[in-house]
Symmetry: C2
Subunit: 231 residues, 2 copies
């Protein structure tokens, strides 16, 4: 039994960092917390923590996010590894990065995590600002290809809301006629008999996702954004 093989190798602290984007009705935001321990105490940071013995990195990300924000069962995707030997000054830490996009409203106020407008993201500890930039790039690509964005808009949403969301992510104006046409052409949306009257006098119809179709026939959403090309 040659366990020696494993013994020779150095173990490493393995962390997860969660980049949580939020949207409500206007702008893309990002969730941050203030470190309450050294090093870098008091500075703003992503939600992070270490992978423990009996959990997978994905589970660790879920646990860390929940413990710091109360957010549970958020689908996150691993999108990068930051593992430069000197990225943290005190000790070597390799970080696995996960991102998600949620509705800002679902964050409970019992926690200290705070939303920042993405455009006004403060300086963060270590290399966290780079992580945010990379996550935003991934989000753009992902959103172009997959209708994931509908999921975050809770159960029901209006077409103007989706439009605003895409505009926030791509920081671009969209032609609402063309965009609506494409949305509806996907046949993923079911019109409800109910209107959102909070945001306009006329009121906008709510829609929901047709999950039966959605699961199988995942559709290419590229070119939702005219003239926009990946990366």
């Amino acid at each position: 039994m040659t366990l020696d093989f494993y013994k020779k190798n150095k173990k490493i602290l393995l962390a997860v960092d969660c980049i949580i984007f939020g949207f409500n009705k206007e702008e893309l935001e990002i969730l941050l917390i203030q470190r309450d321990f050294e090093p870098e105490k008091g500075k703003w940071s992503l939600m992070g923590g270490f992978v423990e013995e009996n959990e997978s990195p994905g589970d660790a990300a879920q646990r860390v996010l929940k413990s710091l924000t109360g957010l549970d069962h958020i689908y996150m995707e691993q999108f990068a590894v930051f593992g430069n030997p000197n990225r943290e000054p005190q000790e070597r830490v390799v970080s696995l990065c996960y991102f998600a996009l949620i509705n800002t409203e679902i964050l409970s106020t019992d926690y200290k995590a705070k939303w920042f407008k993405l455009e006004k993201c403060p300086p963060l500890i270590f290399d966290h600002n780079e992580m945010v930039v990379e996550a935003h790039n991934k989000l753009k690509k992902k959103a172009a290809l997959y209708p994931i964005l509908f999921e975050l808009l809770s159960d029901k949403f209006t077409i103007p809301q989706i439009t605003l969301l895409y505009e926030a992510i791509y920081q671009n104006q969209l032609d609402k006629r063309n965009f609506t046409r494409k949305l509806l052409a996907s046949k993923l949306l079911i019109k409800l008999n109910e209107k959102d009257k909070e945001n306009s006098k006329k009121g906008a119809y709510y829609y929901k996702v047709d999950k039966s179709i959605y699961k199988e026939k995942i559709i290419s959403f590229l070119n939702f954004l005219p003239g926009w090309y990946g990366e």
Copy 2:
């Protein structure tokens, strides 16, 4: 100085595994090696190794690949983390997965790594078969969006060769007229005054990539594959 914070946490063995796809003229292949140490000695495996103290995971992947295959400066992309606590029986190991696509010909015969047809991939150690499936899925998506595939076809290549490559990756037939038209419409290809006469009597013109355009204007290649949708 609260270094204790770090001390409390368990360190983990961190590995990299390299999924190297190869193509020459017909089929998509995958590079494997036979383990020459326990556990699982003698079984087929991906090229893997541990991340060492003074290297980033990306550097580790490069080092491991080079030491086992001689392949150097291969662009690999991190695409998954396999970190289930029990994925290796002897000891907990979290593995970062990287993939690349190269021309099978560039592999030197001095090494023990061996090409297998992807369709005849043998049973591999641990969860390596799952890694291969995930990598293949990523490759499909990636290839649809980016012209990366030209890069692997060394300096020059013919249009029939590219067509075969895409057909191998998507395991699908392509209409050669339509596909050629799209390739040329990208304006990424420069026709050379030289023919490949090895593969046909008539001979096919070589092309090379116009790197000056390639770098900036990365073009969406989605819908290179008619009716094909992501994932």
